[in-house]
Symmetry: C3
Subunit: 347 residues, 3 copies
């Protein structure tokens, strides 16, 4: 990497930290503690990894204040309150987004009545359906397919192989990763004449401003009414949202979460990986769902739930502890049985 | 929407319902209760949503007979026995499938010996392998890849980015959603010479008539013998079927279900979202598997199973109740211990 | 199938088995017991399927030594120690890989500074980013997208629609199935100024020699440092590996496994389908994780864990048995309560 060197003084400046030791030490980039070389800043944010500190070849360490005392003397440090935030700031400085060229690749297929804004990039083999609207500075990746009548706000990025079904709507600055399908037909059938007959889905899939969606995720469009992902929410890879799900602003969902149809998820909700939520529920603002939890009831605002079926975390932990102590409970019951037998004999 | 208006009389006629109130009220489309405007028919099928009825701006309501008494007076209604079926019928009337144009896009790549039927649509950048057969009126989406020797019956629809591995077979009227891969190499290795050596998979992936498969789903082909999805079955998004799985007719699988190799699933089986089934099992006709259940034993015909590991539903509910009452059980044992101590002391 | 016929003598020779009965019987291919015809060798490796033996139309059976006595007399057999390994060997003989043509399809888009080795196949619509390196005899499937600066070692196979994000690195003989995305941005944000702000991910996704990865799987690249899948490991379909996950050599992961960021998985680790592992853990060499297990703590070398939360298998089975016997335990406590009441009354 030909990046310019940065002194620790400059690093501390960028991240709002303070230098301990030689502020003139220079680093070129950041690396995990156990991989860092002498021209790199080793990153330490978790007690778990302090064991790597003594042997790290890092030229200096970026460390959170609470771990400061855990790293030995003699190495220059940049100490910060929040190491993750500091890392992010530093990374943004070291790795500014590369300027992307715009332009319509000659192989892009653009339908009738499409409206393309200024500075749009259509990568090779992008296919844009009739009447789609793509606002300024959108970047449409290779092989992306934008269905008839879809609409993208300014500065959206579709990575390669994204599929937007017809009439899907993206706000501004939406990022969608490779292989993700938005606006898929919902899973709805009625059983008639001896077969499952498809229910038309005429709602849309609406993704609001500043949402980012991971790779190979699938979001169904609404049956009647829309499926909506709210402003600033972030979804990881391989997630499934059923028809008419509504997610509020600034929520986060980790990978492999599944949400069944018509469930409403509030603002600033956190859902851990592989969690599942059945249909027609309400998960209110600020709720947290632990990884792998199975949510089968509404979750009130601010509540943390865990387990299968999901219940308030305190209850989950208590029940789990009781289950783990079951062998001991059985022993106690055995003892009681013997004691009672003995008492009876005594009678 | 420029759809023509429908009187409630006409709606009732279409869906086999009866009008309560003014049969001349006109509506243009259907919407969820809390989104419907005055020219729309609000849809009410679940007690859960009756709370939205008083404030709904819907011009009229489509309501199931059992909820009729829950909605206040004064608004025109169409009352039906089965609201979901009525909605589906109405939707099919309001939103007939758009006529699809046929034709081979000049960018489609068609291999040697391919047989294309009448009225086939090959969208931009479809790639058809040598010796594939595509019967009449199939619609092959943009960037779909059809492997060598694959065969599609009449009127199949492949959405964009579908991949059929070589020799995959689809019956008639099969629908496959975007990003789905059918006929993938199964996950089979033997450990030899210090490494995992790939077992050739020479079976096929066979999808029978009227099957619909969601987006980003993966189905492996058979090792020897075929993987089969039976007539009229419907699979949701992000499902995985391992090699040599066989699914009978008219079964339904919700999103994120995983079925390991060689398991046989009967007819009219229902499997809930995120459920998992280990390999070499038999799930017989009419069985139901609850969402997130982990099936580790055969399931007899008509049985409903739930939980991890899955067991008959009644047993699951009973065990779950006992687990939830564990804290109380522990209290009871404590009390007994005290009582027994006291009794002993008395001796 | 126009394959030549093989005598059982020849089959036994190929797989290191012995013939019981007529060694001159000829077969053309292998099939499951219940599907095999008279010119096929029926395959029997599991007690579960011996019930199909009497009615099988197979011309002969390939059977493991331990099941030999379970199949009736009168049919020619090839008896082997390890039926799965014998099947694999026979399949490799009957179905040698088809010779693949090389060549750059005229529709492939190749960026600036790309280095293509000898005998490379670029299928229709493959898109190769600037400065990518593709070594000899790689086969790049239709619509595959290789990002800027990515590097592929010799004899890699990318099936159609694979996406490699920029700078992804594959070793030699790596196989990646359709729709899989490697090197995706990790799921990392810091909350600043009222929104989730993206953390740049500048690490890479590195896949070592002889790895095979199933369809529609997603692997994130590292934030700082790399995400790595070690030599000879095999991953199934629909798997998710988060940023900075490291997997050692020769490990196997079944479908739908999810591994959260920074977790380290050792060598020869086996992870069953739908299992989940939280972030920052260590799963040491030779450990086994049962299907659907939820790993929330480190797993020592050689340990087998199961359940939610995952615990050593013996403990899991014991706890599970206790849970299943809870109704009986409650009965015992009830009896004790009555007995104690009676004893008290007696006092």
């Amino acid at each position: 990497m030909g990046a310019p060197m940065l002194t620790l003084r400059k690093v501390a400046d960028l991240v709002g930290g303070r230098v301990v030791g030689d502020a003139d030490v220079e680093i070129r980039s950041v690396a995990p503690l156990d991989e860092a070389r002498s021209d790199q800043l080793g990153f330490l944010a978790s007690k778990r990894y302090t064991r790597f500190a003594p042997d790290s070849e890092a030229g200096a360490l970026l460390v959170s204040a609470e771990l400061h005392s855990d790293v030995g003397d003699g190495r220059a440090l940049v100490v910060v309150d929040d190491a993750h935030r500091a890392l992010a700031a530093l990374m943004r400085h070291l790795h500014p987004p590369e300027p992307e060229e715009a332009g319509i690749h000659p192989t892009a297929v653009v339908g009738k009545g499409v409206r393309l804004g200024q500075g749009v990039l259509l990568a090779p083999y992008a296919v844009i359906g009739d009447d789609a609207v793509i606002e300024d500075e959108c970047r449409i990746g290779a092989h992306a397919v934008i269905g008839r009548g879809a609409r993208l706000g300014r500065q959206c990025t579709l990575h390669p192989h994204v599929v937007l079904y017809p009439r899907t709507v993206l706000g501004e600055r939406v990022i969608v990763h490779a292989g993700t399908c938005l606006g898929v037909d919902g899973f709805g059938y009625t059983f008639e004449d001896g077969g499952h007959k498809k229910v038309p889905h005429v709602g849309r899939c609406v993704i609001e401003d500043d949402v980012e969606i991971g790779a190979n995720t699938t979001i169904d469009r609404g049956s009647i009414g829309d499926t909506v992902v709210g402003m600033g929410s972030k979804l990881d890879n391989l997630i499934q949202l059923g028809h008419n799900v509504r997610v509020g602003a600034l929520s986060l969902m980790a990978s492999m979460v599944g949400v069944a149809g018509s469930t409403r998820i509030g603002k600033r909700v956190l859902i851990g990986g592989q969690a599942g939520v059945i249909g027609h529920l309400e998960i209110q603002d600020g709720a947290q769902v632990a990884a792998a939890a199975r949510v089968m009831r509404d979750v009130p605002a601010g509540e943390t739930v865990a387990g299968d079926p999901a219940r308030p975390n305190r209850e989950y932990l208590r029940t789990r502890a009781h289950v783990e102590r079951l062998p001991r409970l059985v022993e106690r019951v055995k003892k009681l049985e013997k004691a009672v037998d003995a008492l009876r004999g005594r009678g």
